[in-house]
């Protein structure tokens, strides 16, 4: 029957599961080296680790899952074939026997014993296939009618279907029979010769077994193919990352060009690597710059001190050298402070200091502070008055950023020049503009101006660290804005520095923010294009 076959395969499946659970326990053991060595006994460490690698291999797991699924579906499919052929034949035989028995019992009811015997003889004679078996015996055991030689041994109960080996006309055969007790001690046997069916069953079983073997082979080879495909795809990523881990940042994961999931992962990894490479470049540049910009004043201070120690002839000379050296070291400290500040801002740590503030008042104060300086240098600082511009930001940082811009503008202005300071509201953005009529910058230098330690050729002779605009840039980014630097153009010399900041949010959103002070605006909106400066 079909059911045992199903159970049989279920048993095999259970075996597979068992193997799987063993594999898992092997893995847990491997996590504890002592336990694992105790369990593995004398096996060499190499062999053990290879086995663990196999167990841990995702490609092997994938292949196994593939093979098991493939075989399970094949088993289900074959079970259905079995049920639809052999099972159907068996059910038909059972039904035929029952129908025969019912017809015969009707004959018995109609005409008694002789009618039944007649009917049996008739049926035996008219049975073309010669597969119907009948036997009616008297209470003594004598045959009354039928095509079986004698009542078979062991057939006693009337509620069971028996499978018997019988011998008919010198041929051994298999039969399925049912016995019926008739009144008066007579017994009736109705059955079918199932020899042909047994041959068919055997044939089918053989075929299915062979098919199973082939399916198993196909499943395994499919699993191997899946595994090698998987490994090839992962190997690319692994090779690239390994090369990068060992220092070769130029490596990239090759793309297959098909745009599939693996390509997308590879693209993401490549993007990440590009970014890392850029960051590393930045760090390298900065550390080179630090090495240079800090080494120079330190060297100078050291030289001064050593020179004074060796050659100073008077206390005054010594004191002067020491004072100059201290000033040099103060310069080093200032550079450090600026670098740390920029790093702190870029890390976004200062977001916690954000508060509501009014921009035009802030500029008023700064204009007042720097107006005096401008005046002393024979320059004019002109503040363009504006409506109040409420924004959400970090007051000290904005002050410092604008101060840096003013410092620069005043530093590079020509005598008698004018520095313009102003702020305008432009939709959701606030623009602070500092414009000077100074020496300006070469176009190639403009884009690099906010790099750390960058100093334009024309500015080399003036004091400064090359960090001022880096800080402005960092402050702009912290406020979700942008820092733009351009020449005034149209024949007029000078620079226009624009600090674009995100203006205050709509009132409803402010109320939200007040309830949850930790929520901070993110620079998710894009900055509008720059309008021509005033």
């Amino acid at each position: 029957m079909a059911l045992p076959a199903l159970f049989g395969s279920g048993g095999r499946k259970g075996g597979n599961l068992g193997a799987g659970s063993q594999a898992i326990s092997g893995q847990t053991l491997a996590a504890h080296p002592h336990l694992s060595s105790a369990a593995a006994g004398p096996a060499s460490p190499g062999a053990r680790s290879r086995r663990n690698d196999l167990i841990r291999s995702a490609s092997l797991r994938l292949a196994l899952v593939y093979a098991v699924l493939f075989m399970l579906s094949a088993i289900v499919f074959m079970s259905f074939i079995w049920w639809a052929t052999v099972g159907l034949l068996e059910r038909e035989v059972d039904a035929a026997i029952v129908a025969d028995a019912r017809a015969l019992s009707e004959r018995w009811a109609d005409g008694g014993l002789p009618a039944l015997a007649d009917s049996i003889r008739q049926r035996v004679a008219s049975n073309v296939d010669d597969d119907a078996l009948y036997l009616m015996v008297a209470p003594g055991g004598a045959t009354i009618a039928g095509n079986l030689a004698a009542w078979p041994d062991g057939v006693t109960r009337s509620d069971v279907t028996y499978q018997l080996r019988i011998s008919r006309d010198g041929l051994r055969s298999l039969a399925e029979v049912e016995a019926f007790a008739l009144p008066g001690g007579f017994k009736l046997l109705v059955g079918r010769d199932v020899h042909a069916r047994v041959i068919l069953k055997r044939l089918l079983t053989d075929t299915l077994l062979w098919a199973m073997l082939m399916v198993g082979g196909l499943g395994l080879s499919g699993a191997l193919i899946v595994r090698s495909l998987f490994r090839r795809m992962v190997r690319n990523v692994a090779q690239t990352t390994r090369a990068i881990a060992s220092g070769d940042l130029t490596q990239r994961v090759p793309l297959s060009g098909s745009g599939d999931e693996f390509d997308r992962v590879a693209e993401t990894i490549n993007h990440m690597l590009d970014r890392i490479a850029r960051l590393m470049d930045g760090v390298r540049q900065v550390s080179n710059a630090i090495a240079h910009d800090l080494r120079t004043p330190i060297t100078r201070a050291r030289t001064r001190l050593e020179d004074a120690a060796l050659h100073a002839t008077s206390t005054e000379e010594m004191q002067a050298a020491i004072e100059r050296a201290v000033a040099d070291l103060d310069g080093v400290t200032a550079v450090f402070e600026a670098l740390l500040r920029i790093a702190e801002i870029e890390a976004g740590a200062r977001r916690s200091a954000f508060a509501e503030l009014e921009l035009s008042a802030l500029l008023d104060d700064l204009a007042e502070l720097y107006g005096a300086v401008a005046e002393e240098r024979g320059l004019t600082l002109e503040l363009t008055p504006s409506e109040p511009i409420p924004i959400f930001g970090d007051r000290p940082l904005l002050q410092q950023a604008v101060a840096n811009l003013l410092d620069n503008a005043l530093k590079f202005s020509r005598p008698g020049g004018t520095v313009f300071l102003g702020a305008v509201r432009d939709g959701g953005w606030a623009r602070i503009t500092v414009a000077d009529g100074g020496i300006g910058m070469a176009p190639a230098e403009l884009s690099r101006a906010s790099e750390r330690f960058f100093r334009a050729e024309s500015a080399r002779s003036t004091p400064g660290s090359g960090l001022g605009l880096s800080l402005v840039q960092a402050v702009a980014q912290l406020h979700g804005g942008q820092f733009l630097l351009e020449n005034r153009g149209e024949g007029a010399p000078g620079l226009v520095a624009t600090l674009v900041l995100k203006a205050e949010r709509p009132p409803a959103r402010i109320a939200d923010r007040m309830e949850a002070p930790s929520s901070v605006p993110h620079p998710d909106e894009t900055v509008p294009p720059l309008h021509s400066p005033p």
Binding site: E337, R350, D365, L369, Y370, V373
Partner: protein
């Protein structure tokens, strides 16, 4: 003034103590947090200079919080190599009155300590009138007179002079002025403070025979009656 100096670096401690003694102060020293805390709670000081990172299990902020919890109001200047803005905020939040980042100029430290010491003594009620020599400032009518002669000042010049007069006889550094008068906490690259002080001088000192605002070399300014 009697000053408690808690600092673990021997060079810095020796240097600061020597400088403070030269300036006429009495200095008690501790090189770890435990001794510092013991001294701070068992004796009375006019000012405490406190390093933030200290050995001995009790760091500067911990010490500060402990004495503040005991209602000890001694002015404390926190000295630290931690220069980030958040560190500064943490130092002031823990009860510090001032925060100075290492490395520092001794003149800056001294000026700040003396300003703190005066604050600790407590000005007797809110003054309405400040007087230094023949210079008078009426804080209510916002009028300034020198030798009976009225001087017109811009609002910022008024605040600058007020700060100098409140710290008369003390050195005030440029950073102190930037923080105290303008409330700016950054280092301008240009000499903005010098320019403003020189403008104030034009109005306060220039027309008069005796100068009151003095430049202290390598330190800052001082308003004093000569």
């Amino acid at each position: 003034m009697r000053i408690l100096l808690v600092e673990d670096d021997q060079t810095v401690r020796g240097f600061v103590a020597k400088g403070l003694k030269e300036a006429g102060h009495v200095v008690d020293q501790a090189d770890n947090g435990k001794d510092g805390l013991f001294l701070a709670v068992s004796e009375s000081f006019d000012t405490i200079i406190l390093d933030r990172m200290l050995p001995g299990g009790i760091d500067g902020l911990h010490l500060l919080e402990t004495i503040r919890a005991q209602n000890n109001r001694t002015p404390v200047l926190v000295l630290s190599a931690l220069s980030q803005v958040d560190d500064r905020v943490a130092g002031l939040k823990a009860g510090g009155d001032d925060y100075l980042t290492k490395p520092f100029a001794f003149s800056e430290l001294l000026a700040r300590i003396e300003a703190l010491g005066r604050r600790g003594k407590g000005e007797t009620g809110p003054a309405t009138r400040l007087v230094v020599a023949d210079l008078e400032m009426d804080l209510l009518s916002r009028q300034v007179k020198r030798g009976g002669q009225k001087i017109d000042l811009q609002p910022r010049e008024f605040r600058l002079l007020e700060y100098l007069m409140r710290h008369a006889g003390q050195v005030v550094t440029r950073t102190m002025l930037l923080e105290g008068v303008w409330d700016y906490h950054f280092d301008p690259q240009t000499n903005v403070i010098d320019v403003h002080v020189s403008r104030l001088r034009q109005k306060i000192d220039k027309p008069f025979p005796v100068a009151l605002i003095h430049t202290i070399r390598n330190a800052g300014y001082m308003l004093r009656d000569e």
